[in-house]
Amino acid sequence: MRFLYLLRRPPYCGSLAAEAIDSILVAGIFDQRVSVLFKDDGVLQLLKDQQGQLLGHRSVNKMLAALPEYEIEELFVCARSLAERALSLDQLSLPVQVLDEVGQQTLIAAQNVVMND
């Protein structure tokens, strides 16, 4: 089965982002083919140097850093969402592939299941 997690929430929107990441890690444990697409405010989860403990949360970028250790390495980011926020790849905490609209269409069409945060 191919699972895509479509993450569109900012990192400290309640605990939604953290719960989604926990769920991604569980899918990874079950040896599913898991990919993640960061889109809209979801790209903000990837910013470096977050200090989530100031808000009583785990830092979302540190949670995301566990993904490659769970062999979840297909990480994608929406080109337009980065551009709209004037962000570049060197400001992000993980290596991600940038996808344009067509790339995102192809990614979604190839999935069995798409999950959200």
Binding site: L4, L6, R8, K39, D40, R80, E101, Q104, Q105, I108, A109, Q111, N112, V113, V114, N116
Partner: protein, 86 residues
């Protein structure tokens, strides 16, 4: 099978419109049905109860097809994957 997009909000619709393919289906649900007030050429389905509950039953354009919950089940069964846009 082709993709079904479940649209729960105006922001969700905006985000989704950038990456839909011509054969994809779009279903407006909950507050997503307010998108019927926007002029659009995109073919849309909308949950009838959500339209009527919000007083939108006479306000939608021709590009919107009203469906009930069993219609939604049919759409869900005919498409994969299903993507939610909140």
């Amino acid at each position: 099978m082709t993709t079904l997009h479940l649209i729960f909000s105006a922001e969700g619709l905006q985000s989704c419109l950038g990456i839909i393919q011509p054969e994809d289906a779009l279903l407006l649900i909950e507050d997503g049905v307010y998108a019927v007030l926007e002029d659009s050429a995109t073919r849309l389905h909308a949950i009838e109860d959500d339209l009527v509950a919000r007083g939108l039953q006479d306000l939608h354009a021709d590009n919107v097809q009203r469906i009930d919950y069993s219609g939604m089940v049919e759409l869900v069964a005919r498409h994969q994957p299903i993507v939610s846009w909140h």
